[in-house]
Point group: C2
Chain length 118, copies 2
Amino acid sequence: MQELSFTTNGKIWLEINNEKVLGPGRVELLERIHSSRSIRQAALQMKMSYKQAWDIIKHINSCFNSPIVLSKRGGKGGGNATITQDGLELVNQFHSLQRKFAIFLKGNVIANNILSKS
Amino acid sequence: MQELSFTTNGKIWLEINNEKVLGPGRVELLERIHSSRSIRQAALQMKMSYKQAWDIIKHINSCFNSPIVLSKRGGKGGGNATITQDGLELVNQFHSLQRKFAIFLKGNVIANNILSKS
């Protein structure tokens, strides 16, 4: 009889007016922009196009009353992007949510002994 | 200034040895098999092919020590499928998890006033 080991896994994200605004992928994008100070670099690292990254950023910024990402385009040495204090706060809060979710997942497993015996 | 209303949303599923075994879609398939007593009907209702439904069922059954779906193929009036007691217990336990998850989501929202003021 095989050894069964059930785990509960999942994914969470933020919505505004039923529209997905921020999940783990977008948070990663924000963090990569924060460390590289470049939307182009962050997009490259995440194997997405510059346009895709820009569209995501425009969407995120449009969902908040103050910008999450500030960027200057072009110029010598290319553009420059920063995550605002509000953006960093948002990222931190999302991570805090993720930690609570991880605890939830660990604490809510289906008892496999009920299911593996008949 | 637009009215912001953040919600936390998400999805959970069960894994065995890091492989997805059961999520909301598969639970729905099991429930539809249970009420129609037919894999073909359940597949139709969920707009999937009979083969897709069968592959899912074979996979689910292979993950447990006792079958979750029992089926007789063909014969007069087509085949006949039932969900075992273990299968019904599994479905119930998944719904119970989903209810706890819904409570988790409601209780874990990001305070939008922090983010909407700068």
